[in-house]
Subunit: 287 residues, 2 copies
Amino acid sequence: MRAGTGDPAVPPHSPSTEEPPEAWILAIGNELLIGRIVDTNSAWLARRLTFLGFRVRRIIKVPDDVDDISLELRRAIENAKVVITTGGLGPTYDDKTLEAVAQALGVPLELNENALKMVEKFYSEKGLPLTPERRKMALLPKGAKPISNPVGAAPGVLLEWNDRIIISLPGVPAEMKAIFDDHVAALLQRIAPPRKLWECRVVIKGVPESTLAPVLDDLARRNPEAYIKSHPKGHETRSPILDVRVLASSPVEGKAEEKAEEIAARIVEEARRLGGEVTERSCGRPD
Amino acid sequence: MRAGTGDPAVPPHSPSTEEPPEAWILAIGNELLIGRIVDTNSAWLARRLTFLGFRVRRIIKVPDDVDDISLELRRAIENAKVVITTGGLGPTYDDKTLEAVAQALGVPLELNENALKMVEKFYSEKGLPLTPERRKMALLPKGAKPISNPVGAAPGVLLEWNDRIIISLPGVPAEMKAIFDDHVAALLQRIAPPRKLWECRVVIKGVPESTLAPVLDDLARRNPEAYIKSHPKGHETRSPILDVRVLASSPVEGKAEEKAEEIAARIVEEARRLGGEVTERSCGRPD
């Protein structure tokens, strides 16, 4: 964390805990609910959180409504160690995320001096005055800390609530990503269990998904810690192409590699037995 | 609805009701929660539902877990007239949507003869046998009706529950879209209020979002039935470009056009007063 964003007093994750800590993502904005834009932020965040060792269990899109947002926030806080919101931090009337965070936690919104400095600096460098709308971006829930935004005006917001962490990021993808990579990743790394991930990919031609299904089911049942999924690419029966992914993760060095490659080898073997042709096979650290 | 999918006994929407009926979307699949794929299905469905006159209030991504899915389904049914799920209808072990629907409603899964005929026909045309995995796609919650899938093997599923409608669609976008456009749209049209939509777009150069914010806030407050949103495209202060959308909807012919164009004209006027240049201005039926 850089100066000004505070040094959060989150205890590091105990390495003895095997179960990954839970994370929820709330994507806020009417434009998502009317289908004007495809929400790419959530997938980006989900991937980052997964690699950091969290288990993302819900991604929820909520309209720009204080009651709706705060209701979903309360559910998220009840269930997840980490809650990340995107959107609704800007200067306009329909940017209501921080008001909803305050309502969910029963704390007031108040002017945060550090946030105000960040917003003031952003605009004064451009010779622009601090209007009430711009000042609004420095109204944070009591107890929250601003996180510097290297790209835009609205700071991100960090709130520690008992043993939970609520992080609010802007909805503009460039700002969301910059704040996450510059500040949030390091903060979460401190509480995430150190995990290694390994992913194998097997592309199979000539075996319909439903024919391979019993094989994958059996492997999934016997390897609950791995994630096995087939994605049909060609036509199910005319020219079936199956893209099978195996993602293994483990806190133990070398264990994820071993597990993913063992499962992938079994899939290759079974695919060939079923008359399929393996047209691609690769393994690596997912990124 | 085509033959074999049944003629649902849903009463048509009363045109006197002004408030649009609520819809929730549940997107099911671990791959969404680990960020492997961006969920484009939900935005597509949300846009279709909005145009049909529904208000989409939640889009929730849930992992392939029966308890998780059925918990979110119960919440959705409590709140929404229409619940649409995508994903989890296929032949593999981790396709658990119908099991979760059955659990949420407290009904058993049972072999549906019409669904079995659809699945059987799909595979027999390709000279393939009906394995237990393929047969699984015909196990429907008691009381449900299959909806023919013109593209793939897994039928869609329609369940009417008291005055609620639960529709389960496959996660493969081509299958989801085909079932929706061929069957679901007509079914929902019967219960949606007939609404006209009209959208105006104003692109403004040279006014930062935070400068235009009070104008848009004021318009939004005075026109709660319209949806006004600004999307910053350029850099907030160096070279600000604002893409402002105004979406109005009304059950009364001509009213949405009137409202959207009136608001857009005000935005153009105010943008120019603030020293901005209007580089684009268009209105039309959104699609």
